[in-house]
Subunit: 281 residues, 2 copies
């Protein structure tokens, strides 16, 4: 049994990304800069935003958090982003989610210039991904693939099953697996016989957002299992969409929660920021 721990890859990525930043600075006189727009003061959002800032700083990436705490209108947020779009010193922009409910989600997807859209939420980016054109790859699915590659698991020719069809994880995950020549089953809340689908998969990726959804019965012997879920139980314990104890006995490899997929997402955000900076040299 292999535990697909993010930590060794994260350490490696920190080194390579720092070097890339160093090269951009010394050869191209370009310091990559990430701007995070934080609306309101949701405590979890503040924590996530700070984490992104700290990681950026540790890699030599410049970082700015634009805090709009006084209940701003969508127009004010849009104006702020438009200033960042035309600011040549800013390479990458993201809006920390969730936004207040009254924000027009469809419009928001268009606010960030696609060339700075490191979360890859802009419809044009989503389309480019589906078409297999060069683009920013959504951070979580990209992080999962890098983690699999790092541990020498290649999706090509495998039967992969993705549980979940969100725009952030499930759908782009299926697209990326398809591009790597996996055969892909996409399951979701309306799948009638989930176990019949998941139990066939050589590679099972679970992004359903339901604690403990996947038991040992759902998993093929010697499958590779990736758990995208994060659920807090009480103050300390964090668990995923997969019943780790029983599934880990049956799987060939499994990502732990925490310490698996989560840390990869932020690293891919840094990678995309550096990619964006390269577009601007």
């Amino acid at each position: 049994m292999h535990f697909l721990l993010a930590k060794p890859l994260v350490e490696e990525l920190k080194k390579t990304l720092s070097k890339e930043v160093e090269t951009l600075k010394s050869i191209h006189k370009k310091t990559p800069k990430l701007a995070v727009v934080l609306v309101g003061n949701n405590p979890a959002s503040v924590i996530y935003t700070n984490k992104k800032g700290e990681m950026a700083k540790s890699l030599g990436i410049e970082h700015e958090t634009v805090v709009l705490s006084e209940n701003p209108s969508p127009k004010e947020v849009k104006n702020t982003i438009q200033k960042l779009n035309i600011d040549n010193s800013v390479d990458a922009i993201l809006i920390q989610r969730p936004l207040p409910r009254h924000f027009p989600e469809e419009d928001v997807l268009y606010w960030i210039d696609p060339r700075k859209d490191v979360d890859a939420f802009h419809p044009e980016q989503v389309g480019r991904l589906s078409l297999g054109l060069p683009c920013f790859k959504p951070c979580t699915p990209q992080g999962i693939l890098e983690l699999l590659h790092y541990y020498q698991f290649q999706p090509a020719y495998k039967l992969a099953c993705v549980v979940g069809r969100s725009s952030i994880v499930g759908k782009p995950m299926a697209q990326l697996l398809l591009q790597e020549n996996a055969t892909v089953i996409q399951c979701h809340s309306k799948t009638l016989n989930l176990e019949a689908m998941t139990s066939q998969a050589d590679l099972l990726i679970v992004a359903a957002g339901l604690k403990g959804l996947i038991t040992a019965d759902h998993v093929k012997k010697d499958a590779i299992v990736v758990d995208v879920g994060i659920h807090r139980e009480g103050k300390r314990k964090i668990s995923g969409d997969v019943c780790f104890d029983e599934v880990s006995k049956k799987a060939l490899a499994i990502t732990p929660v925490p310490g698996g997929v989560g840390p990869m997402t932020i690293m891919m955000l840094m990678k995309n920021t550096i990619q964006a900076a390269k577009l601007h040299i």
Copy 2:
């Protein structure tokens, strides 16, 4: 056994679309107009372009074919399309494929204004489809869904298998099926055990481009089978990706080739053209 013949639906669509055109003309003083750009004089392309023109005419849609036969440069074609983009009388534009090989396919996708892009090839349209936002739906997959609905087959809760992953059929088909709450298996040329996948499907959609790929052994008893393939054998006979004779004995329903999917595609082009015209009133 049901034969999913396009004809009765095509006749119905002709009536409803003609009425819509009539309403646009009488109430909104708007005549929908489709412009087709034909590069070179490939005989098949000329035939397809003529067919589109005839269908448009029969529905009261204005139609223009811009023929660029003298080996035009990509820049010339782009300029032609830009004129159509800003021409307020033109609601819908398509470029007849295939284009000459030296045309930069990625650039071409961006030439047509997304609001006039009735083939839905623009990356923004592709992204909007994946995100479930209002958009033009690619003609062939949309036509398949309308055909299924017409014969009272709903994809929801079914296990669907799509064979093929092209940007024109396979990928958008999977997206649309997912939106209708089917569970979707996407297979392709790198799928190791195709039969094990296809034979599970309640709804099997074959867009592989390989004559006779799907035999009775590939099909679950009482499955619904949709054949997107078109292969010419000699002068008269046309067949599909599915071995019709043997599969039709096992399936609950099947589209014939010709007379199944093919005629739906052009009707959906007309539907998208009217949708585009509505954007411009």
